[in-house]
């Protein structure tokens, strides 16, 4: 039996407490493959070396190694199409909104968050990834067909001219 494809979510928060909460909720209500990191640097390292595909990235804002906005900007460099979500305490809301505009974040979630909202934001983000991927595939297909058509056109011209 072929394994069902589970969308991959990468979650970074320096607080183990938050990771446990989100992990448990997602385990009980959803079917995602969740990768968790307490260190944004380690997450980037793995993105460069080990991790092949990610459908969505969630990051905490205030972390000692690097802040969530810089981390998500780094993620964008590596995977421009993957939706990025910032998880933030209320105090840095202004920063978060600036970041959404500057770094092009998909969404931000305030702590304490509502689990239903979290699930919806994740689901929509992943859907967006899939739509973008499909769109990309379709564009490639159209380009291929277009090229084939162009070649046929050339052949026809050769025959008649």
């Amino acid at each position: 039996m072929a394994e069902k494809y589970l969308p991959v979510i990468l979650l970074v928060d320096d607080e183990e407490m938050i990771i446990t909460s989100i992990k448990s909720f997602l385990a009980i209500e959803t079917e995602y493959h969740l990768m968790t990191y307490t260190s944004p640097l380690k997450a980037l390292e793995d993105l460069d070396n080990k991790v092949k595909k990610v459908d969505l990235v969630i990051s905490d804002y205030l972390m000692p190694e690097m802040d969530g906005i810089s981390f998500l900007a780094e993620v964008k460099k590596r995977m421009p199409l993957v939706p990025r979500i910032l998880l933030t305490g209320y105090a840095d809301k202004e920063n978060a909104i600036n970041a959404i505009n500057n770094v092009g974040l998909y969404q931000y979630i305030e702590k304490p968050w509502n689990n239903d909202d979290l699930r919806l934001i994740i689901r929509n983000g992943i859907e967006k990834t899939h739509l973008l991927n499909e769109l990309e595939a379709k564009i490639r297909e159209v380009e291929k067909v277009h090229k084939e058509l162009h070649d046929v056109h050339k052949e026809i011209l050769k025959v008649f001219v």
Binding site: S21, F25, G89
Partner: protein, 279 residues
């Protein structure tokens, strides 16, 4: 050390007001970080409770169905997960209680009077409150000596400790260490707080206790922090000194363990002025 006037004067009232406003300003600076500190465990608890409620619903369904081996395994998995979530809630609750306890300990609103207090306890609760400014960037080394209780206004001394620790943290740009030492020096307790954040330029050193002197730029510091620390230590008939060199800055305070009765009355009069102003 400068002398202390015998009675409260209009100047004292103005000073009391200044101390109060600086305290509010520093709490304001802290509140943004505190909100983050509180929202982390609060966020976990909020989510955990929801997850537990969902888990219970799922468990009900599992138990209502005919119990085959698969169902039994699913139920056991679910119970394991719920157990983890509930442990996580305990951790988060403990963290919140710690934060609130430290805030209470720090402000000591319930005991604004002059009393014998444990300096180490004050240092510890101050450290908990400024934790978000330190995080993993700054290591705190503590060399606590064996010291007796000190007669003081604990909430005011905590304000001094907070100011010095936040200053030290701001002086360290990348990674560094803050060292806190306490020791008994004759009839005084010595508390020193040092950082390896690069040091204070020699030309600024004589000015650091001057009201309004700041190098932090608009919006970061009020420029009153150290002058108020100086005043508070003076009120305790103590001494505060600063030394800087080789990339290291140390603030050293000597606090008398006990005070003569008439001194105590004068300090209470000053505290009275502060409370009067606050109302």
């Amino acid at each position: 050390m400068k002398g202390i006037p015998n009675e409260t004067s209009p100047q004292d009232d103005a000073n009391a007001e200044l101390i109060q406003s600086e305290k509010m300003a520093s709490l304001g600076l802290l509140s943004a970080g505190l909100a983050h500190e509180i929202n982390t465990p609060l966020g976990a608890i909020h989510s955990n409770n929801d997850t537990i409620a969902r888990g219970i619903e799922k468990m009900k369904h599992l138990l209502a169905e005919k119990g085959d081996a698969d169902n039994r395994r699913a139920a056991l998995d679910l119970l394991g997960l719920l157990e983890e979530v509930s442990q996580n809630t305990s951790l988060a609750t403990e963290r919140l209680m710690n934060i609130v306890g430290s805030l209470k300990n720090f402000t000591r609103l319930d005991e604004a009077e002059f009393k014998k207090a444990d300096i180490h306890e004050g240092l510890e609760s101050t450290l908990t409150i400024v934790q978000h400014k330190l995080r993993e960037r700054i290591a705190v080394k503590k060399n606590y000596g064996k010291i007796p209780l000190v007669e003081c206004y604990p909430n005011r001394l905590n304000q001094v400790f907070m100011n010095l620790i936040v200053n030290a943290a701001q002086a360290i740009h990348d990674r560094g260490t803050i060292t806190i030492e306490t020791s008994l020096q004759g009839d005084s307790v010595r508390v020193s707080i040092s950082d390896d954040g690069g040091g204070i330029p020699a030309e600024n050193l004589p000015k650091v206790f001057d009201p309004g002197f700041t190098t932090k730029g608009v919006g970061v510091g009020t420029g009153l922090g150290l002058s108020i620390c100086y005043q508070i230590i003076q009120q305790h008939q103590g001494k505060i000194e600063v030394e800087s060199g080789n990339g290291k800055t140390t603030f050293t305070m000597d606090l008398p363990i006990t005070h003569k009765k008439d001194e105590r009355l004068r300090m209470q009069a000053r505290q009275g002025a502060a409370i009067k102003k606050k109302r």
